[in-house]
């Protein structure tokens, strides 16, 4: 592991804490959540508010569905060499009534996932640059939390 500093792959979309949260926005007019954060206009057709508060989204949810990437995606994805397939999950957040996509932490395959399975948000390396290690949010089965094999 390199001793470069950690930096978010996308600035301002999640906290950097040990128990990280996605950073969304919430319309003060109708309480609709947005991720990525939306601060200019509310997309609820019954609301014309332009006022939003920043909110930390729930960091746990249940799997809506899941898959994996067997082939290296094109740029701007920065793939490790050799390419390691990774799982992907769409996770439903109950309070927010929304589904958020993300990679699943490395080491977990689709064989270990199931629709409805509880998941939690963690940070893990997306790729390294010359200056830092870019981390992003990933989903991890909640049951695996007791034995975190690989962290950020």
């Amino acid at each position: 592991m390199s001793d470069k500093p950690l930096a978010p792959a996308i600035e301002g979309w999640h906290t950097m804490a040990d128990e990280p949260h996605l950073i969304g926005s919430q319309c003060t007019g109708c309480d609709t959540y947005f991720f990525p954060p939306q601060k200019q206009y509310c997309r609820n057709p019954g609301c014309d508010s332009t006022d939003f508060r920043e909110v930390e989204l729930s960091r746990t949810g249940r799997i809506w569905s899941y898959t994996n990437a067997c082939y290296k995606p094109p740029a701007p994805y920065v793939a490790a060499e050799p390419f390691e397939p990774y799982a992907i999950a769409a996770v439903q957040l109950e309070r927010e009534q929304m589904t958020v996509l993300g990679q699943v932490v490395s080491g977990v395959t689709v064989a270990e996932l199931k629709v409805g399975m509880p998941m939690e948000l963690v940070l893990e390396t997306l790729h390294e640059t010359d200056d830092d290690i870019k981390v992003t949010w990933k989903w991890r089965p909640l049951a695996a939390a007791a034995n975190p094999a690989k962290g950020a």
Binding site: W13, D31, T67, Y77, T99, L101
Partner: protein, 395 residues
């Protein structure tokens, strides 16, 4: 019905990877449709084109590009871009022109040329672009199709064998379609031997992108009667509805769905909302449908569409597939053209190609692929950014 128009001509340039300019395919399709209708190019008073965004300026003004290629003759033109629904939106523009009495007969045409290599987004650091975000995070197009497929497996018990059976079914009819790109009868073993791309979808579960062109000649019912085509198939409905907030399903290229947390807001499936307006407009129910052409970007997605069109109860499409009910000769044949599995996707032409197939089927001209006694056909497709369509054609 006073909102109906007649389809008096249909034409296509065969799908493939020909490497020509898209205009060539559109002109070939238009000329075939004109010959099929038995009318002259000079009779056309409105040209409605589906735009291609891959071929520069001529693609953005496709209606005019095709009109110029066929020879300027003063007709008015229109160009529609609505992703996979572009052809339907172009058809809707022609219908409006005809029903308003501004023109009697129109050409609707779309064509595309496949780009070389990946359709990657522009580089740099651009988090405001959802397409850039999802590629940066490792989410590709097959990711979305695979999420839908896996959900079917966990919710309804669909299997990899079911998905392969869709490919096998469609390739059997596609092999008989001279306009299809892939004309080989693939087996379940062929599908199983192809590489896993996004679990549970293998390479042969996912459709390719193709070159192709499709065209229709549409006219008022009065015009059809005057030229002796009073019994031509009719467009009974066109739905090009947008989603209703809050969209329940994560859609390409988004990283998250809408939130349905606000009071009075419910999560709504866009895909299943698309045909509702078509059924209502046509005054026709799912039980009246003889055949359907649906957008099988993946094998599993065909099963979703069958349920979204309410041709089977939710979760039962795979059971119908296993019984042969969705095959040629079954209760409700789906994708007897061969579907995208055998054509590959040519975006601005695809929705029109679906209507071409329905036209030939309703005329009884589909040869080895003919659905016996076909009276009502429905199409369905969905693309990026809230575009989707469903067209009902009836005898």
């Amino acid at each position: 019905m006073d909102n109906e128009i007649a389809i008096i001509g249909a034409g296509m340039h065969p799908w493939g990877k020909w490497g020509h300019n898209f205009v060539q395919y559109g002109v070939a399709a238009a000329r075939e449709a004109l010959a099929d209708a038995g009318i002259s190019w000079r009779d056309i008073r409105f040209v409605s084109g589906g735009a291609t965004v891959r071929c520069g300026y001529p693609g953005y003004v496709a209606g005019a590009t095709f009109a110029q290629a066929l020879g300027w003759q003063g007709a008015e033109v229109n160009t529609s871009y609505a992703a996979c629904a572009s052809g339907s939106q172009a058809l809707a523009a022609a219908r409006n022109k005809i029903l308003s009495g501004e023109c009697e007969v129109a050409l609707v045409v779309g064509a595309d040329t496949t780009p070389k290599g990946f359709l990657a987004p522009a580089g740099g650091y651009r988090p405001e672009d959802p397409d850039w975000v999802r590629f940066y995070l490792g989410i590709t197009n097959p990711t979305y199709f695979a999420l839908y497929a896996r959900r079917r497996m966990d919710l309804y018990g669909d299997t990899l064998e079911d998905f392969a059976a869709v490919k096998v079914k469609n390739s059997r009819v596609g092999a008989k379609n001279p306009r299809a790109r892939y004309r080989k009868c693939f087996t379940a073993e062929d599908v199983a031997a192809s590489a896993m791309v996004a679990d549970p979808l293998r390479l042969m579960d996912i459709c390719a992108t193709s070159d192709g062109g499709a065209a229709l000649i549409v006219c008022s019912l009065d015009y059809a009667r005057r030229i002796g085509k009073a019994d031509a198939p009719r467009v009974a409905a066109i739905s090009t509805v947008t989603p209703t907030f809050a969209s329940a399903v994560v859609e390409m290229p988004d990283i998250a769905t809408d939130s349905a947390a606000a009071a009075g807001v419910e999560a709504v499936s866009y895909r299943s909302s698309i045909p509702l307006k078509a059924y209502e407009e046509a005054g026709i129910g799912p039980g009246d449908v003889s055949l359907a052409e649906v957008y099988d970007l993946s094998t599993a997605l065909e099963l979703d569409w069958i349920e979204d069109l309410q041709l089977t109860p939710r979760g039962e499409a795979a059971a119908w597939l296993r019984r042969g009910d969705t095959a040629l000769g079954g209760r409700i044949p789906v994708n007897v053209s061969g579907g995208l599995a055998c054509f590959g996707e040519a975006v601005p032409a695809q929705a029109l190609a679906q209507v071409c197939e329905l036209t030939w089927q309703l005329r009884g001209q589909a040869g080895d692929r003919q659905v016996k006694g076909a009276k009502v056909g429905i199409t369905a497709n969905q693309g990026l950014f809230g575009h989707g369509s469903s067209v009902i054609v009836k005898k």
